[in-house]
Subunit: 153 residues, 2 copies
DNA sequence: GCAAACTAGTTGAAGCTTCAACTTTTATCG
DNA sequence: CGATAAAAGTTGAAGCTTCAACTAGTTTGC
């Protein structure tokens, strides 16, 4: 096997900053949401995606894709949310295999409450700490990353 | 409580791109390292930090801080690495409470092998996908995030 | 119209992380 | 000095994620 194309010093520095920063960032988001609202980040994400869907309902597979979770993980997470009363499962009329996750009124209320605090945390540790130009660069960069992954290319 | 300072459309877009992208990115890194080398990302990180330390040894607390892991998590991870023969635990002469994690020769070899593949994955999905200027912006941004978190301010 | 292949979703076990409790040693300070 | 507090690590249980196996329904192709 040929010699790998190692990162140069600058690339290494930038990559590391990202890795460390993002680990710490998600840790904070998680701790914060859990402490104030008893939700994990992945539960929160599910609620967000559902809240944005038409009629606040989505097929499991689509929800999983939206939230970048595996189907299995979504199943478990959904069960937890269901037992908290934040989500309900309906059966799908057009496909008997299908299951539709529905955000309950209670779930929507919980999300509204959580979002108020969450946005503050996101601002304090991310948005307001970063130069607007750099934030745009981040958006561009990660959009490209996502496109590369999902779009195939 | 006052009305939260919601993100505007652009901020929201950028933040989401980052969240989704980073989730997918770590998932790939993890799957890749695990499949080819039987290492999780957090195990890999431990090996990296140790390999860069003088004499490839570090106090547990320092290692935990370097790798952004909790002490407890490091303890468990270290036990796993130890049972794989990649890390050894020495006692600390100056502080009888202390434990020093040492990278074994085998551990260093495993790291070298893993790093060759890992750098390729990092390039394919991140470095080579992003404009150099945007990469620099990421470095700047996440350095600021880290500074805000650890530096206090 | 039926068998083979595929898709949707769930389940339980195994693995990893988090949390709180605990032991041992060191630092603080009256 | 001696007591109290604080720090270093570990441990086990509980919680979440991953993985592989499974059920059930749908599609394909002959």
């Amino acid at each position: 096997m040929s010699e790998p194309r190692w990162l140069d010093a600058t690339q290494q520095r930038d990559w590391r900053a990202y890795v460390d920063g993002s680990v710490r960032l998600t840790e904070i988001m998680d701790r914060d949401l859990k402490a104030k609202h008893g939700l994990s980040v992945s539960e929160y994400e599910i609620l967000v995606r559902l809240s944005e869907a038409p009629e606040r309902r989505l097929r499991m597979a689509e929800l999983a894709a939206n939230a970048s979770q595996s189907r299995s993980r979504l199943s478990h997470t959904c069960s937890r949310l269901e037992s908290k009363g934040l989500v309900r499962r309906d059966s799908c009329p057009s496909d008997k295999r299908g299951v539709i996750a529905v955000l309950t009124a209670e779930g929507f209320a919980a999300l509204e409450r959580a979002a108020r605090d969450h946005v503050e945390t996101v601002r304090n540790h991310f948005i307001d700490v970063i130069e607007p130009d750099d934030l745009e660069a981040i958006g561009r960069a990660f959009t490209a990353v996502l496109k590369k992954m999902t779009g195939g290319a």
